[in-house]
Subunit: 383 residues, 2 copies
């Protein structure tokens, strides 16, 4: 199987990730931050080390501002619902994922106003359009760093500057870029950063992260045992405990720690360069096929390693099915939980066939993918 | 290390649990329910099989009514906040965990009324007292199946009958009993059942379950990508998707599946018998030490395998520390995220030293624990 579905979850993970999870479960599989015995303390230390290494990767000074969640969706829900109140206005873009749009739709019902700024058909955003959308009651700008459908990178640094200048909170959804692109919460004026653990950070599924800027108060939306201030019936105020009720995913976080170590050892720029090269190689190969529509910027410097295509007006699911069954190539067809993006790029009815490239892919993988597409084109048009 | 902290998390897990997680991550580490290729389908099947086996254990007819969560705390938050509205009344007991009490405290601020029915100093509850607490606006009864501090079992079957008769929703927190005690949602009239995956069900940390009775509408509290109805900006209505936004903890759920298989193969009654024997053996040994206060019922038939003690008026944390450092025995001292229980049993200032026994413990482990306690008593009182 050639796996080109890394935007859904990276696969495989570095071997050290599996080993770390197994080691945590077998050697110190206790409940961290609770009981105080050796194994519990070792589990707690592991989680703290994971906070530290996340901090290192994103220039977050205080590791206690790093909240572990179940996935990026939970991080986004916590951030969005934690700062918006009835009467507030929130700005998003027309290429956001449902994990941003659906919580906001829920809030609209209680009186939160919402503007989705239109991107062009390549998914590109003009920061000026964000500025134009700002109203006196704008409390928050939520923006993906890169489209999960076509990879287009959004200008988070410019928008971060604007948000700071206008004193508006800035939440970045880095689901498709964390671990591959430089993200610096200080330099980019990011107040809230939502991350999946299991994509570019190479942790296992079941892990997510929310960074909350120090001093920013976000409403908790789960309460329970935190192992701290056990005597109180109200949720403790201290971070990260305030946001982390119940037993954490300790094996998952142990794996995530090693995933990020792998990134730091490999070098984020080496990972990016490899993925950029493969992405451009794939796009250039696709360009030779006039029957294939390639969405997005066609420029690997302007997009994450996600390439969406269609073959004529063939159903994207059908193409995905053939790639899987006949060619043993794993991609994701359809709407990718992001209908607004498909409306923006003009593929809402058809969906697209999404190829997403990871660090462990090779040119040979993409040659096989190109061969498969060529063969499908041949069969549809010329046989 | 002798591990007697199984009420925090069971350790170790059956070997098959580790193997299943590794196998999922290495062989079919894709995102389930999303892309439709072979690996994604296999991951989706694994999650569906896990729903089925959970259903088998708790007599849940429709596996789609089983929601996977991050932990029991999330399950409780989802259930409690998903059914209670301003003006509703909720009944709990005086031995609930903070994972029940803290969400309710949050709801009290928006006008939910709350009565905590008093248990006696052994943690026992008279179902008649629940009936007395019922008011015309009582919407929900939330009750733990067994105290996480002293193990005392609560009469969930009687209360379930009462709840059904009075048309009140019944939520059971089975954090300390699932996998060891027979729980039948039909027979016991349980509308909502909250479970941790990583305790008696032998799954890894990072897994939890909420069962929602068919036909019962619970508000979702996270929205996002569900892999279903991607074209819609509002959360889909279908279960379990409605409650499971974002990428699930697939390796965790794969492990949980094998944990429950282990229970079914071993026989839940064999697990319970073993734990009951050890618990009674430990209690009987403790009874020979007049300096030791044993909380709870002193009867393993009436309590889960959790035994809380104190030695005179010694600080519980100090005793826990000595057990760990000197005797290499892992227990949990303090308040166990359940201050109300400690008020109920009269140990709020001192906390207790909690020994919690698991299926993998042996008589030899408890002999060593008894020896250690004897030695500490000797040192405090007679040296």
């Amino acid at each position: 199987m050639i796996y080109l579905d890394n935007a859904a979850t990276t696969f495989p993970k570095p071997e050290v990730v599996y080993e770390a999870m197994l080691n945590q479960m077998k050697s110190f599989g206790a409940n961290p931050g609770r009981s105080g015995h050796k194994l519990a303390i070792e589990a707690g230390r592991c989680i703290f080390s994971a906070r530290e290494i996340v901090g290192r990767l994103f220039n977050i000074n205080n590791p206690m501002q790093i909240i572990f969640t179940a996935n990026a969706t939970e991080s986004l829900n916590l951030a969005i619902k934690g700062v918006l109140n009835s009467g507030d206005h929130v700005i998003t873009t027309s290429i956001e994922h449902n994990s941003v749009m659906r919580p906001i739709k829920t809030l609209e019902a209680i009186g939160v106003e919402h503007t989705a700024v239109q991107c062009n058909e390549k998914g590109e955003l003009n920061p000026q359009d964000i500025e134009t959308a700002i109203k006196p009651n704008t409390k928050l700008i939520v923006m993906t760093h890169a489209s999960n459908v076509i990879g287009t990178l959004l200008p988070i640094e410019e928008v971060g500057r604007l948000a700071k200048e206008k004193e508006i909170l800035f939440l970045v959804d880095a689901a498709q870029t964390a671990g591959t692109y430089d993200i610096d919460v200080v330099k980019m004026n990011i107040d809230l950063l939502a991350l999946p653990g299991h994509k570019g950070l190479y942790g296992p599924q079941g892990t997510g992260i929310l960074y909350i800027r120090e001093g920013l108060s976000v409403r908790h939306f789960k309460e329970g045992g935190t192992g701290s201030k056990s005597e109180e019936l109200i949720q403790p105020d201290i971070v990260p405990d305030r946001y982390e009720s119940g037993t954490p995913n300790t094996p998952g976080i142990a794996g995530l720690l090693k995933g990020i170590e792998f990134i730091l050892e490999t070098g984020i720029e080496n990972i990016r360069r490899h993925e950029e090269e493969l992405t451009q190689y794939f796009i250039d190969g696709l360009k030779e096929l006039p029957e294939v529509t390639i969405y997005g910027t066609h420029d690997a410097k302007k997009q994450a390693s996600v390439v969406s295509i269609n073959i004529g007006d063939e159903d994207s699911s059908e193409i995905g099915y053939i790639l899987d069954k006949v060619f043993d190539i794993a991609v994701r067809p359809g709407l990718h939980c992001s209908p607004m993006t498909h409306k923006t790029i003009g593929s809402f009815e058809q969906g697209t066939v999404r190829f997403s490239i990871g660090y462990f892919n090779t040119k040979a993988d993409l040659d096989k993918a190109l061969d498969a597409i060529r063969s499908i084109v041949q069969q549809i048009y010329y046989e």
